[in-house]
């Protein structure tokens, strides 16, 4: 008994440390799982000839939905890149979400569009559709443009889903750059479906800042010059190559990034489409679809592709990045709170017991614990109750472990997709890993705390996202 009391006292006394150890252990376990999964994925796909899929008559049809709001700078080039994706039977649905700039005008001019007599079936509620446009030019027959009253990204995606007639739907950000073979790679898990219905597939997002982009395609990959963007490269590599890969295997994937995801359209519609009530509509949809499947007792899975499929521009300014992270935190908190029924509920299987629980403690609460830990530490420091020798030891432990984990992520990238060809880039990435815990991590904690505060006071806004656009504006195609 005394032994157990000692253990309890030890755990309480070292709560933050214990939490740190659990988080680190979870990271190690996830990394190991990811390594195994990555190896299997690479081996399995080393023989695949994706070109054979392009012409296969049995391949499912796909609708790529790209919502656009004030994207005048880059929309024409981005649509052109989407139309050039390698796939046989697909359509591109661009949803102009009541842009205040000349986004629609530019698309109409560039692609020779005219309004068609479209009967719009509002299967999922969305804001009023002002018109549906198609091109007079048969070369652009794959393109459909919807003009609607502004309602946000989720609302635009819902409008696109309503127009789509295809089996699979791909939702992307209009300013993301998809790899030309992204659809071929993403469709594969749906084709490999065996017994379990595949309801969604996510892919790896890569950071396009500082990359050379031409004609809506990434021509040369460079590591971002800006520190904030560079540190996000590390963050994304860790999250996508080490985290999500493992979660897919553990059936605990709760998020398919809004920047790129492929879904089964009917399941999406039956789940009610994207929620316009949350700022984390991408995560909320996946959780809702999973709930639907689990409640209907349909065997299902959410899969994940470790290939770099989509390039996106990340914020380089602290203010904008702060807003984005605030929004992510609110999105996570809103989703987890809304679906709290899943928490540790065996009815939802691994998704409820493991995936949700992990997100609850480590994605939502961990930054809060860290923040309150910092406050507690500061009070103790002021009162002179800090054992500085032990503090330095603990700091050394946390720091070296965190850095080594980041270097593991760099190795994963090196061994798998090897996107940074210059040796200098790899050294800079490793250098960034050493700086990150001091200069970046505290900021993410603060943003997460602010996001939680905004969640508790019920703030709903998205915040303004400024983008520079990848290319010079083009007026013709």
């Amino acid at each position: 008994m005394e032994k157990w009391i000692d253990i309890l006292e030890f755990v309480l006394y070292n709560f933050i440390f214990v939490l740190t150890v659990i988080i680190f252990s979870a990271y190690v376990i996830l990394a190991v799982f990811s390594a195994v999964m990555l190896t299997r994925y690479l081996r399995k796909n080393s023989y695949v000839d994706y070109n054979s899929i392009i012409l296969a008559p049995l391949i499912p049809t796909i609708s790529v939905i790209a919502p656009a709001y004030n994207e005048s700078k880059s929309i024409v080039a981005n649509i052109r890149a989407l139309l050039s994706l390698y796939y046989n039977d697909f359509e591109v649905i661009v949803v102009n979400d009541g842009s205040k700039d000349d986004t629609l005008k530019k698309i109409i001019e560039a692609y020779d569009l005219e309004r068609v007599n479209y009967f719009f079936d509002y299967r999922i509620p969305c804001k009023r559709i002002r018109g549906v446009y198609k091109s007079r030019n048969r070369s652009f027959k794959k393109l459909t443009v919807i003009d609607k009253v502004n309602g946000g990204k989720a609302d635009s995606l819902n409008a696109g889903i309503n127009v789509s007639k295809n089996k699979l739907v791909v939702s992307i950000d209009a300013d993301s750059i998809m790899e030309p073979d992204a659809l071929l790679k993403m469709v594969k898990p749906f084709l490999e479906e065996k017994g379990k219905k595949v309801i969604g597939t996510g892919g790896v997002l890569r950071i396009a800042n500082s990359c050379e982009i031409e004609g809506g395609l990434v021509r040369r990959v460079h590591l971002p010059g800006n520190f904030l963007a560079r540190v996000q490269v590390l963050e994304y590599t860790r999250a996508f190559l080490m985290g999500r890969m493992a979660w897919a295997k553990l059936d605990g994937l709760l998020l398919i990034s809004g920047a790129l995801g492929m879904f089964d359209r009917e399941t999406m519609i039956r789940a009610g489409g994207y929620s316009t009530e949350t700022v984390g509509e991408d995560m909320e949809l996946v959780v809702r679809m999973r709930r639907l499947m689990a409640e209907e007792k349909v065997p299902y899975e959410v899969t994940y592709i470790p290939d770099p499929l989509c390039w996106t521009e990340v914020p380089e300014r602290m203010r904008i990045l702060g807003r984005q992270r605030n929004r992510w935190t609110r999105g996570t908190a809103e989703t987890l709170w809304l679906h709290r029924k899943i928490f540790m509920n065996p009815k939802y299987g691994k998704f409820g017991m493991l995936g949700y629980t992990y997100w609850f403690f480590f994605e939502w609460l961990a930054p809060l614990v860290e923040f309150f830990g910092l406050i507690y530490f500061s009070i103790l420091a002021v009162l002179g109750h800090i054992n500085w020798s032990f503090f330095l030891l603990l700091l050394g432990f946390v720091y070296t472990f965190a850095v080594s984990l980041s270097i593991w992520a760099v190795l994963f990238e090196e061994m798998t997709f090897h996107k940074y060809e210059k040796r200098r880039d790899v050294f800079r990435l490793i250098g960034t890993a050493f700086l990150e815990p001091f200069f970046y991590h505290p900021l993410t904690v603060l943003w997460a705390v602010k996001g939680n505060y905004d969640f508790f006071i019920g703030k709903k806004s998205w915040g303004k996202m400024e983008r520079t656009g990848f290319e010079k504006p083009e007026d013709n195609v």
């Binding site: 080393s46 007599n117 009967f119 198609k134 084709l191 054992n387 603990l394 432990f397 472990f401």
Partner: protein, 531 residues
């Protein structure tokens, strides 16, 4: 109330039992003094030793105090007036292990006299004949016989040189971490491990880069060289007998042979007839098929897969037994590759696996088998053979293949599947009947419409549209009239429109109806810009 009184009495009794027999002010100083007490830690051992032995062993005139903490007995001597004096005395002892420590009311503190946060209090052990500490002390004090009472045994313990582990523990003790040694050691361990990992990973990354760059360069050169030799061999009029020998020479190791095989496979994809035969002949004469067979018999699944693929491409049947064995593998990928290889290499029953496959036959597998049939111009089997399979995915696959290869003799059998218990099979059967325009299906399709789930109703309407007929036209008009679902109405209108002039005329008439939706739906359907 009574209980409290009892507790107080009990405490008094306890204290009464431990009344001092002989005054020992030095213990009081150590355990109760509000001022720092400077001592020297002489040794720390797992064994409990009498203080007098320790004092004798180290030739100490001063008293020896024993503290038990974290599984170790620590032996101190002192007290000294200050840290400097304690330090000087520690040096004079000439012991590596000795170092000065500071106590406040029996608890170890920092050298500046401040408490060490997290420092656990130890238990002080008194010699049996010593006095108990002052009553106000709050620390644990016990008085008991030392475990190692034998002088010789105590000497042995004290004479034992300190192990590396002990040195490490002393290193930790000197740094006042205030946590258990094991805990601190784990932290140190993780730090050292992390640093080592960083260094190793850095080296691995660099080596991997260099290796990959080197291999990529080598591969490029080899490919160029092999391609030249192969093209000359395949398309030059004369047949250079020396080519196999030359290739054997330049493809001297497994890496080079791997490149050569890949190159041959790449070439074989686009070769037919004589050229393909010539390449196969070269592949065998160069002895590369031994590599492929070896791969097919490897214990690692991904190497096996490579072997199967190479053998299938080159039409080598020497490892068919291994391929057949893998048809039952639990590894999905290996099983699929074995199926594919057998479709290409099987002598008598290449599609036999479809007879007994219990697991779902995924769309991916279906596509690869179809691609194999097309690419290698293989004769498709009569797929009607599997229309009664208990595996629904095989039935669905067979239905699709019947439509693609237009196996007309199977069409009547498809009608039977409209009663299949699985809605997905019925859906595919409906679609196939529409695709092959099998008019005999019109009546059964009409009959089943009302009982079918929504998705299948949509398929029936679409299938009807592919079979223009007066009877169908009326049915489709009824769908538009009676159904509330817009998708069904649109599909029915599309189906009518696909019937040509008769259909368009019908739609024109319907446009004149007062019902508002009709006009919007028909306008939508007639708009040729919407595909």
């Amino acid at each position: 109330m009574k209980k409290q009184a009892g507790a107080i009495l009990f405490l008094i009794l306890l204290q009464g039992f431990s009344l001092p027999e002989r005054e020992q002010p030095v213990y009081d100083t150590l355990l109760t003094s509000g001022h720092p007490v400077y001592l020297i830690q002489i040794s720390s051992r797992r064994e409990k030793l009498p203080a007098e032995f320790v004092a004798r062993h180290f030739n100490l005139d001063l008293p020896v105090f024993t503290e038990f903490r974290d599984g170790y007995y620590r032996y101190y001597t002192g007290p000294f007036p200050g840290l400097a004096e304690a330090g000087t005395f520690a040096d004079s002892l000439g012991l590596d292990d000795a170092f000065a420590v500071v106590f406040l009311k029996g608890t170890r503190v920092t050298r500046s006299g401040r408490p060490i946060p997290g420092m656990k209090r130890g238990t002080w052990i008194f010699p049996p004949d010593s006095a108990a500490p002052a009553q106000d002390t709050v620390i644990s004090v016990v008085k008991e016989e030392p475990a190692v009472a034998d002088t010789a045994a105590a000497e042995t313990v004290l004479s034992r040189p300190e192990t590396e582990g002990n040195r490490l523990r002393r290193f930790i003790a000197e740094r006042d971490y205030g946590r258990s040694t094991v805990f601190v050691l784990i932290l140190y361990g993780v730090i050292i491990y992390s640093i080592l990992t960083m260094l190793v990973l850095l080296v691995v990354i660099l080596i991997n880069r260099n290796r990959n760059e080197r291999l990529a360069k080598m591969e490029e050169n080899l490919k160029e060289k092999y391609q030249r030799v192969l093209m000359n061999y395949l398309f030059d009029q004369e047949l250079p007998e020396g080519v196999p020998l030359r290739l054997q020479k330049i493809a001297s190791n497994s890496f080079k042979r791997k490149i050569l095989i890949d190159q041959m496979i790449d070439l074989s994809v686009n070769l037919r007839g004589e050229a393909a035969e010539k390449l196969r002949d070269l592949y065998i004469r160069t002895g590369l098929h031994h590599d492929s067979i070896k791969k097919a018999r490897s214990r690692r699944w991904h190497i096996k897969v490579k072997g199967f693929r190479e053998l299938a491409f080159m039409d080598i049947r020497d490892a068919n037994d291994e391929i057949i064995r893998c048809l039952h593998s639990r590894n999905d990928i290996l099983r699929m590759e074995a199926q594919l290889a057998l479709v290409k290499l099987g002598d008598e029953h290449p599609y036999e696996f479809l007879d007994y496959l219990k697991m779902p036959f995924s769309l991916w597998e279906q596509m690869t088998v179809h691609e194999m049939l097309i690419h290698h111009e293989l004769t498709p089997p009569p797929f009607s053979r599997w229309l009664r399979s208990s595996n629904t995915s095989i039935v669905i696959f067979s239905l699709k293949m019947i439509a693609i290869f237009k196996q007309e003799e199977a069409y009547p059998l498809i009608i039977e599947l409209l009663d299949h218990p699985d809605p997905e099979v019925r859906k595919t059967a409906i679609r196939v009947l529409g695709d092959v325009k099998y008019r005999e299906a019109i009546l059964p399709l009409k009959r089943m419409y009302k009982q079918e789930p929504y998705e299948n109703c949509l398929e029936i309407v679409k299938a009807m549209g592919k079979m223009p007929d007066q009877m169908v036209l009326k049915f489709l008009q009824l769908v538009i009239d009676r159904e509330d679902d817009v998708q069904l109405q649109i599909e029915a209108a599309k189906a009518i429109q696909r019937m040509g002039p008769v259909g368009e005329e019908t739609l024109g008439k319907m446009m004149q109806s007062d019902y508002k939706n009709y006009q919007i739906i028909i306008k939508h359907v007639l708009d040729k810009r919407i595909f």
